[in-house]
């Protein structure tokens, strides 16, 4: 490994944006056939660094070498020409076009004559060959709109290969994948390595590092803290390097709660094609986890309980009383809160201020006569919550768009804390946020349960469920196929149930 050729080397990179230093004298290199992980908290400079490698930004100081030769990159085209490609976090494919067309978009195989007539047979044959090489049997004639996130990602990777990429940048590739899809991705990455590609791998997930990476570089506040082979560093040491201090309670242990009355009960809830016959209860003070692969109906279920989706039959009971929840507004009145997955699309008004976003649910309640805005109360509530949740923001008028992922997620939580609900439905509450913010959110979830809230926690990170939840419901194809106590919930058992093995 160490003998193989260095593909890309960044030397002494410094970059500032309007007086703010994003990167300070950073060195970084990737070898052929190596997966080099890049980790650090949000705002540590990871994305700036890869954007410099992609020619999106140019460095103020420092040099780039490609296979030892000095190069300068001014646009992503320059990077592509060298063989550097990025697979973005959100796939950027054309949904209406086929897999094959997307792979070769920009240089579809065509005949010179006859107005560049497209040679469909060759296009599909070459696309199929590329996908096979990556270990997948995806039909290149299918439209991309039919594919799931994992398959779309595969198309992005195939696309990079089609353009002779030698260095691939993967930006949090697993953030929207289930555990089994993640496994397949890792197999694909292994094939890329075997072909001699270099990979820069950005992630927030500690466990993945040890599965996929050969070396790791930690950035903190725009500086390189360390670079080391994965085999030579333990997880605690990595976390310490990232946050610059000890995190004793990364996963706080919970004492199982004494049973009160069931606060939320769902009976035989069904929405055809989404979920079927779902029954469970949550008691006051209890955290119930929901595991399942993406597409197992988890998100649909919590959104239906919250009144954001229709269901055809079943009953929802709160404190033993059947309730009618037709809209999210009804749900809020009944004391429910929904922390959505995908906070940028469903959780936040990105262009609006911290204050506006925090007050979204509570403003009617504290308004005079329910109508006239009560500016003083609003200001007090916002400032108290920002303080309690330790949100890092210059002011409450700052647009949430400019905050880090962890702070954005805290804003979503603050909105619900403001209305003081008794039942929390949380859908991937720590998706794509850094370790320190995760720890704080875990602490908050536990604190809420300790004070009598009932919490339904949906997560793709089973480690998270094991550490927080009192019991874990496993979903497969819209049904709850099993319930595990925390102690029983090994990866194997969850995976077995989540893939339909329990039926």
């Amino acid at each position: 490994m160490s003998s193989s050729e260095v593909l890309l080397r960044l030397e002494g990179i410094t970059k500032t944006f309007g007086g703010i230093v994003a990167l300070r004298d950073v060195d970084f290199e990737v070898r052929a056939g190596e997966v080099h992980a890049l980790i650090g908290e949000n705002g540590a400079g990871k994305s700036t660094l890869v954007k410099i490698a992609m020619g999106v930004h140019s460095a103020d100081r420092g040099r780039l070498r490609w296979k030892g030769r000095l190069v300068s990159l001014h646009t992503p085209r320059d990077a592509h020409r060298l063989g550097i490609r990025m697979v973005p976090q959100e796939p950027t494919l054309v949904p209406q076009l086929s897999v094959g067309e997307n792979i070769f978009l920009g240089c579809l195989p065509s005949r010179r004559a006859l107005f560049s007539w497209i040679r469909w047979d060759e296009l599909h044959r070459r696309a199929r060959a590329l996908l096979r090489e990556l270990g997948h049997d995806l039909d290149p004639t299918r439209p991309v709109s039919e594919l799931g996130v994992a398959e779309q990602q595969l198309v992005e990777i195939a696309r990079a290969l089609a353009f002779d990429a030698e260095l691939l940048i993967l930006d949090e590739p697993t953030s929207a994948l289930s555990e089994s899809e993640t496994e397949r991705l890792f197999q694909t990455i292994a094939r890329l390595k075997a072909r001699g590609l270099g990979v820069i791998y950005i992630t927030h997930r500690m466990r993945e590092l040890y599965q996929v990476a050969d070396r790791v570089t930690v950035l903190r506040d725009g500086r390189r803290v360390l670079t080391t082979p994965m085999a030579e560093i333990g997880p605690e040491e990595l976390v310490r390097a990232m946050v610059g201090r000890e995190l004793k309670e990364y996963f706080p242990q919970r004492e199982p709660q004494a049973r009160g009355e069931p606060l939320l009960r769902v009976e035989r809830l069904t929405a055809p094609g989404q979920f079927t016959d779902v029954t469970f209860s949550i008691h006051s003070g209890e955290i119930v986890g929901v595991a399942g692969l993406v597409g197992s109906g988890r998100t649909e279920l919590v959104e239906a309980i919250f009144g954001a989706r229709a269901y055809t039959s079943g009953t929802i009971l709160i404190s033993g009383r059947p309730v009618t929840i037709r809209t999210p507004a009804d749900a809020v009145r009944q004391g429910l809160a929904l922390v959505t997955d995908d906070r940028r699309a469903k959780g936040l008004i990105l262009t609006a201020s911290v204050r506006t976003n925090v007050l979204l649910s509570v403003q009617t309640r504290i308004a005079r006569c329910g109508f006239f805005v009560n500016t003083r109360a609003e200001r007090q509530i916002t400032e108290r919550l920002i303080h309690e949740l330790r949100v890092k923001t210059p002011s409450i008028e700052h647009p949430v768009m400019l905050l880090s992922g962890g702070n954005q997620q805290k804003i979503v939580l603050a909105r619900w804390l403001a209305v003081n609900p008794r039942i929390f439905l949380m859908d991937e509450p720590t998706q794509g946020i850094d370790v320190a913010a995760k720890a704080e959110i875990y602490e908050l979830i536990r604190h809420l349960a300790d004070h009598g809230a009932a919490i339904l926690l949906v997560s793709s990170e089973w480690e998270e469920l094991r550490h927080l939840a009192d019991r874990i419901l496993v979903m497969h194809r819209g049904r709850i196929v099993g319930e595990l106590r925390r102690e029983e919930a090994t990866d194997d058992r969850i995976l077995h149930l989540a893939t339909g093995g329990g039926e």
Partner: protein
């Protein structure tokens, strides 16, 4: 800034920092454009800066200002209302017919406002309950339906000679201020308070900023959408009352193309088609910019055909300036995204 400078001077200096300049430009950019244009016209034409002419500009802008206010509410929710011009035409005919039928003035006005509101509400209901894909569709439908009804009801002819006490609302004055101007100022003040100081007003911004997030936060999104289209219809009816009063007639082709002027005023006034952004104040300036342009070009003897051309150019420039500004803000923060 040098530390030894007196603090007042340092404060003056702070205004020239880029971020402060940008936020000032955002708030006062349209006003600045209006003042520059007015200054230029004052130099070019001795008649421009007379009291009568300024009142004239205000009066001529009144109808557009009322339609634009409704359009603003709709555009803040990331929608569009193409029907306002036709609803104005239909309401012109309706109020004239009611008055001719002997309905007392206040009764006719009330009924017309109610009908305009109901037409707007229909747009909102079609959008939310039939789940039509975009507000363009129901309001395009309403645009044709309302214009057709106006022609059917009137037989295509203007209905003239309206009662004196009705004409007061469009042609009368309060002191020396024309009634249309009084109405615009009062309605604008009320809507400013509505949008900035009530929860429903702020819900409207939230719906436009991110509909999904607003819904999942417990905001009744459909109700708010129905409300903004209803208000837009009601404001078109109010415009019809002012117009019919001023012209002493209800004519079925009133307001043809007026929806586009209203949209232009809103956009020149700094609102965003993407929703969530826009102010009553900016829209007033936007409507006045269009009024001053028309008035000034008239005073300079430029043909009406050229006026339309110039306004087209102004719209594109206004939005382009906004895009440039947006890009400047984004590039300053790109590090974080």
């Amino acid at each position: 800034m040098n530390r030894e400078l007196p603090s007042t001077l340092a404060d003056v200096g702070r205004i020239f920092r880029p971020e402060v300049l940008q936020s000032l430009l955002r708030r006062f950019g349209p006003l600045l454009a209006l003042l520059l244009m007015s200054g230029a016209l004052a130099v070019l034409s001795p008649h421009f800066l007379t009291f009568e002419n300024i009142l004239n500009v205000f009066r001529q802008s009144a109808i557009n200002a009322l339609l634009a206010l409704g359009q603003l509410l709709v555009i803040i929710t990331a929608g569009i209302d193409l029907s306002v011009g036709s609803v104005l035409g239909l309401c012109c005919v309706l109020v004239a017919m009611l008055l001719k039928a002997g309905v007392p003035t206040l009764g006719a006005i009330g009924a017309t406002l109610a009908i305009g509101t109901a037409l707007g509400m229909t747009n909102g209901l079609l959008l939310t309950k039939l789940r039509l894909p975009h507000p363009f569709i129901p309001t395009l439908g309403m645009m044709n339906v309302a214009r057709g009804l106006a022609l059917v009801l009137s037989g295509g002819f203007p209905i003239s000679e309206l009662p004196e006490d009705f004409r007061f609302w469009g042609a009368g004055t309060l002191g020396s201020i024309p009634m249309p101007v009084v109405i615009v100022l009062v309605v604008y003040a009320l809507f400013h308070l509505f949008l900035t100081h009530t929860t429903v007003g702020r819900d409207i911004y939230a719906v436009g900023g991110n509909k999904q997030a607003a819904l999942l936060s417990g905001i009744p999104v459909d109700q708010r959408l129905i409300l903004v289209y209803a208000l837009s219809g009601g404001l078109a009816a109010l415009g019809a009352i002012v117009l019919a009063g001023r012209m002493n007639s209800g004519f079925p082709l009133a307001g043809v193309g007026a929806e586009l002027d209203a949209i232009a005023a809103v956009i020149i006034g700094g609102a965003s088609f993407f929703g969530g952004v826009g102010s009553v104040w900016g829209t007033l300036i936007g409507a006045l910019i269009m009024g001053v342009l028309r008035n000034g070009l008239n005073l300079l003897d430029v043909s009406a055909y050229w006026q339309t051309t110039v306004i087209g150019v102004v719209i594109v420039i206004a939005v382009w300036v906004d895009v440039l500004r947006q890009r400047a803000v984004e590039s300053r923060y790109r590090r974080r995204t």
